[in-house]
Structures are given as structure tokens and as C-alpha cells.
């Protein structure tokens, strides 16, 4: 799908997966079903996942295993979702979290 996806690897084989559509800031993108949201965004060339609440600094992922909370975003209206370990699903609405975000009932 993009040049960041590894096509050939001397050791690993990546199985065929289903391509699905999702939205980032209302724009449509494609990713593989079940891969982490942050991985799909990264492959689509999106590295800034949110802005920091106090100094408005760009934030990307760091640890990729759900430890550091650098990658938290708003997903389908819910804030503080760790996108590096949350699987991507068809039609997901993903947004940058502004500040601390707003908890919706």
C-alpha cells in the first residue's frame, strides 16, 4: 500500500490480510484489518498522533507495546485509546486528541 510496508524480507513472511477503510480526521485511508491503529497511520505517512496538552508539542508513538501512552488518540468518540495496541476495524473514526480530550457518556 505504501513504500513503508515491507514487501520482501529475508527472514519473515507477512501473511495476506484484509484491506479495510478507516478515517483519520475525516479523511479516508486504507489499512489492514486487525493491525494496530498507530501502525496503519504510520504506514499511511501520519506520524503526529496528538498534540501535548500543555505545550502543544507534536506526539507520535514511542514504545509500540502499550506502555508509554505517547500514542493515545480519540477513536470512535472515545478518548485515551492506546492506538499502538488497539486493532484497526472497518470504518473506524480516528482523531488527534486535543489537550486532555473530553469524556463522552
Amino acid at each position: 500500500m505504501t513504500s513503508l510496508r515491507i514487501e520482501h524480507h529475508p527472514v519473515l513472511n507477512f501473511p495476506e490480510r484484509k484491506i479495510i477503510n478507516f478515517f483519520f480526521e475525516d479523511k479516508q485511508y486504507q489499512g489492514f484489518e486487525g493491525e494496530p491503529i498507530a501502525a496503519a497511520l504510520h504506514a499511511a505517512g501520519i506520524r503526529t498522533l496528538r498534540r501535548s496538552p500543555q505545550k502543544d508539542r507534536a506526539r507520535g508513538f514511542f514504545c509500540a507495546i502499550g506502555r508509554c501512552s505517547s500514542c493515545i488518540m480519540e477513536v470512535d468518540g472515545q478518548i485515551n485509546i492506546m492506538t499502538c495496541i488497539t486493532p484497526l476495524a472497518e470504518g473506524m473514526q480516528v482523531r488527534m486528541q486535543k489537550g486532555h480530550g473530553v469524556i463522552k457518556p
Binding site: 513504500s3 513503508l4 510496508r5 515491507i6 524480507h9 529475508p10 527472514v11 519473515l12 507477512f14 493491525e35 494496530p36 501502525a39 504510520h42 504506514a43 506520524r47 503526529t48 498522533l49 501535548s52 508539542r57 507534536a58 506526539r59 507520535g60 508513538f61 514511542f62 514504545c63 509500540a64 507495546i65 502499550g66 506502555r67 508509554c68 499502538c84 495496541i85 486493532p87
Partner: protein, 365 residues
């Protein structure tokens, strides 16, 4: 809801899987929880071959070791329950713990707990170290070896320990250009065999150098590095700008210890083991007699030693529930002997020092 188990294992990496396997194989009802969707811990992204020991996993890739451990636990499925996507969130008094599984909270009452929470990656202080494009070495491995995505086109590696060297090679295998490897010390930290591999592939190695800052406003566009003196202080007028779109930090790991503190285990700071670790004896028992430890949480080392320490903890946790057993004793004796071999020689020196300090503290040497 609540669950009841004899042995409660937290963490499904090499240590936790081995501990759970041994405890269940010996006959203890065992529950293993792991917060990720796929057990195996960090082995599932390690495509390199392990040195191992003569009778354990020598020359085998990390991903193959993970498959093997996952197969092993299937043999004991009558005694062992595995919960993925489940995080242990707290210890209480009276041998109770809380777990969070798919947003549902449950209580677990156990007789012995084995905590194998592993470690978290260190960052490094430099200007702009929070920019998107600066990733931990483990994060880079996960992205590329588990999810099949390159972190970027050109990457600068910081740190020349074994992780920095191995991940540099894996990046090259994945088609990423490694534009340099920066090391503060005058000599490379990891094994020469790994360093020679990337040197042969033409990666510039900057020893006695450090990163001063990352360049770019919203994303990494490069880095400024400079020479350091014997006291690791930057030498003026030696700055060098390097173009890259990612910076990888391979500057060590710190044991994940929150749960031990909740369980009131006494902690000790040992630099050689990565920082604060729970005090434990050679049976991997902490100062809280119901809580055992194994793997990186007891001191940063590697997967083969984590497997062996996990086997010891699993056997001892079984015994603390069911009483002394000759089979458990045999497993412990065998694992201890293998650990001695693995930690011998000059490469195991730091670990031996660190472990000796822990053992002295508990009065075992």
C-alpha cells in the same frame, strides 16, 4: 466476578510462559495473564539467532523460541488457563489481585504469584527528544518485525549495546538505511560479532559521540551529534548534522516494578541490573513470601536466562503450594547449572556482579 488459582503468573514472555509451564506440569492449577493480544512477550519480534547455551536454544531465532514456548503450554492446558488482553492492575492483602480483561474487572485469589512484567525502554535527555520519529528500539522492532512496517527511510541509531547493533542489522534487512550509529563510550558496547556485521555493511559508527538535538519542528528531519570527552562532556566545535527521518534509542531498559511495590516487596537499586529490582533469593522468591519474580523484572538480561529463572520460579511456586517435590528440585538444580554456564565468562561479568549484590543483600553469599 472472581477467580481462584493456586499459582498466578503475570506476564506471558519467556519468563512467565516457562514459569507457568513448569508450575502446571508439576500439577499446580495455574492462571497466566498477559496484557497483549499475543503471548510470547518480546520474543515475537526477535528475528535474530540467540547464542543460548549448548543444550538450550543455541542458534535459534527468538520468534522460533516463542513458537516453542507457546506449543509447550498447550501440553498442560488441563492445568493452565491463559488470558490474553488481560492486565494485572493491583495486588491486595490476603493473596488477592485485580485483573482487567476486555474492560471488565475481576478479582483473582491465588496462593503463589509469579510476577514477570519485564521491562520498559529508557529514553535519553536531549533537545527535541519528544518529536514524532524518535522511537525506542523495541518499538522499532515491533513495528517492523511484527507489523511489517518500516519506521522510516533513514534512521540514526543511538546506543551500541547488543540491542542497538542487532536492531541496526534488522533495519537493514527490512530495507531501511542506517545513517549512523552513535555511542558515548570510546568502544562499542555489544558483541563484536554483531558490530562487525553492520560495519561490513558500511554503517558509520561514531564512538565517543552523543546526540545533542533532534532537528525538525513537528517531525524528525535530522540530528546534531558531537564528540564527547572522557567525562562524556560535549567537545565544542565538533557538531555534525546528519539527515534522517527517524532516531532510534537503544539506551537500555528499566525493570517494570509497580506490582512489586504494591505487594510490599523490598526493593534494591542495582545499576548492573537496570535500576530498582525486587530483592529475591536464588529460588526467585521476593521478601513477600507469596510473590516470586523472573525475567527482566528481576534484572535486565536476555530471553534464555529469563526462561531458566522462570523455570526455577515455577518449580518453587508449585512447592510453596503443594510442598517439597523431588521433580521440582530436579528442575531447579538443572536450571541453576545452566544459568551458571550462561553467566560465566567475561560477557556475563556485569550480570554476575549485579546478581551477587542481590544475593548478598538476602544473605545467600
Amino acid at each position: 466476578m472472581s477467580r481462584n488459582t493456586e499459582v498466578f503468573v503475570i506476564g506471558g514472555g519467556p519468563a512467565g510462559l516457562s514459569a507457568a509451564y513448569v508450575a502446571a506440569k508439576l500439577g499446580a492449577r495455574t492462571l497466566l495473564v498477559d496484557d497483549s493480544s499475543r503471548i510470547g512477550g518480546q520474543l515475537i519480534k526477535q528475528t535474530h539467532r540467540f547464542f543460548g547455551s549448548s543444550n538450550r536454544d543455541a542458534g535459534i531465532r527468538g520468534i522460533t523460541i516463542a513458537d516453542k514456548l507457546q506449543q509447550d503450554i498447550k501440553d498442560v492446558s488441563d492445568k493452565l488457563t491463559v488470558l490474553e488482553n488481560t492486565a494485572a492492575v493491583g495486588f491486595y492483602h490476603n493473596k488477592e489481585a485485580g485483573i482487567l480483561s476486555h474492560s471488565a474487572y475481576e478479582r483473582v485469589s491465588y496462593q503463589s504469584a509469579i510476577v514477570c512484567t519485564g521491562a520498559t525502554e529508557n529514553s535519553l535527555a536531549f533537545e527535541n527528544n519528544d518529536l514524532p520519529g524518535i522511537y525506542g528500539a523495541g518499538g522499532v522492532q515491533t513495528l517492523m518485525n511484527v507489523h511489517g512496517i518500516r519506521p522510516g527511510q533513514k534512521i540514526l541509531m543511538i546506543g551500541s549495546g547488543n540491542i542497538g547493533l542487532i536492531v541496526s542489522y534488522q533495519l537493514i534487512q527490512a530495507g531501511v538505511e542506517v545513517v549512523g550509529l552513535v555511542e558515548g563510550s570510546p568502544a562499542i558496547g555489544g558483541y563484536l560479532v554483531h558490530a562487525s556485521k553492520i560495519r561490513r555493511l558500511g554503517v558509520p559508527i561514531y564512538t565517543s559521540h552523543t546526540i545533542l538535538k533532534a532537528l525538525g519542528t513537528d517531525e524528525v528531519e535530522g540530528a546534531t551529534i558531537c564528540r564527547v570527552d572522557e567525562k562524556f562532556q560535549p567537545v565544542p566545535n565538533t557538531e555534525l548534522d546528519i539527515k534522517c527521518d527517524c532516531i532510534c534509542l537503544a539506551v537500555g531498559l528499566t525493570p517494570l516494578i509497580d506490582l512489586f511495590q504494591q505487594a510490599h516487596c523490598r526493593m534494591v537499586h542495582v545499576g548492573e541490573l537496570g535500576g530498582l529490582v525486587p530483592l529475591h533469593d536464588s529460588s526467585m522468591r521476593t521478601t513477600n513470601p507469596e510473590v516470586f519474580v523472573a525475567g527482566d523484572a528481576s534484572g535486565i538480561e536476555e530471553a534464555t536466562t529469563a526462561i531458566l529463572a522462570g523455570r526455577i520460579a515455577g518449580a518453587r511456586a508449585y512447592e510453596s503450594v503443594h510442598g517439597k517435590s523431588p521433580q521440582a528440585e530436579e528442575i531447579v538444580a538443572e536450571a541453576r547449572e545452566e544459568l551458571r554456564t550462561l553467566r560465566s565468562g567475561s560477557t556475563g561479568e556485569r550480570i554476575r556482579w549485579g546478581r551477587e549484590r542481590v544475593m548478598k543483600e538476602v544473605g545467600e553469599c
